[in-house]
Amino acid sequence: MAAKSIDIQILQEPLSINNCYNFVLNEKCGGIDLFVGTVRRWNKGKEVSHLFFESYLPMARREMNKIAVQAIDQFGLEKISMHHRIGKVELEGVAVIIAVSSKHRKAAFEACKFAIDSLKLSVPIWKKEYLTNGSHWVNSRP
């Protein structure tokens, strides 16, 4: 059951919205919500040239899987797909995709928000921001 309803991937290559969509699409569901996190040029007034993501791979997969299991249980989802990019990501590139499918749309929105919020809190992935002058690990300022 879990194996077929959950799709967790951490990838070096560009993420595919279609792959996530196709995974969660099914005839039991009327609502699919997809969140796509993309790389912004401007962050807190500084110009970003690109991002670099590093991950503690096996633990990141485990934490993402925990979130997926909880999202299914809590919101009654049919399926959930969570893909995160690692390595260098250019402006407008896709860093993360969360796709969920549910009978009704309210649960889909809530579950998708829950999943991305949770990912940002607990999944061991780190973002290095390359600005036009210098670089730093995000969240890692005193």
Binding site: F53, S55, Y56, A95, V96, K120, I125, W137
Partner: protein
């Protein structure tokens, strides 16, 4: 005992795999050692220790065969 280091912690410690001469130690003791040796870590006080790919609390006991990781504040997504 080997500690995997990521993100800013890797930069501070200067390696992605720190070797400590310990066989059994609590998370609190490990953090004390690390903070003493790498005082810059104290600037990221909310860093966590993971044992075998699970977040651990200060009382958890680490054995030499465990997979240990130093997890600075995450910033995925």
């Amino acid at each position: 005992m080997k500690i995997l280091c990521f993100g800013i912690a890797k930069d501070i410690i200067g390696t992605s795999e720190l070797i400590l001469d310990e066989h059994q130690i609590t998370v609190a003791q490990l953090k004390n050692q690390l903070n003493e040796k790498y005082p810059k870590l104290l600037e990221y006080k909310s860093y966590m220790i993971a044992i075998n790919q699970e977040y651990a609390n200060d009382e958890s006991l680490i054995s030499i065969n465990d997979e240990i990781a130093l997890i600075p504040p995450v910033s995925g997504g």
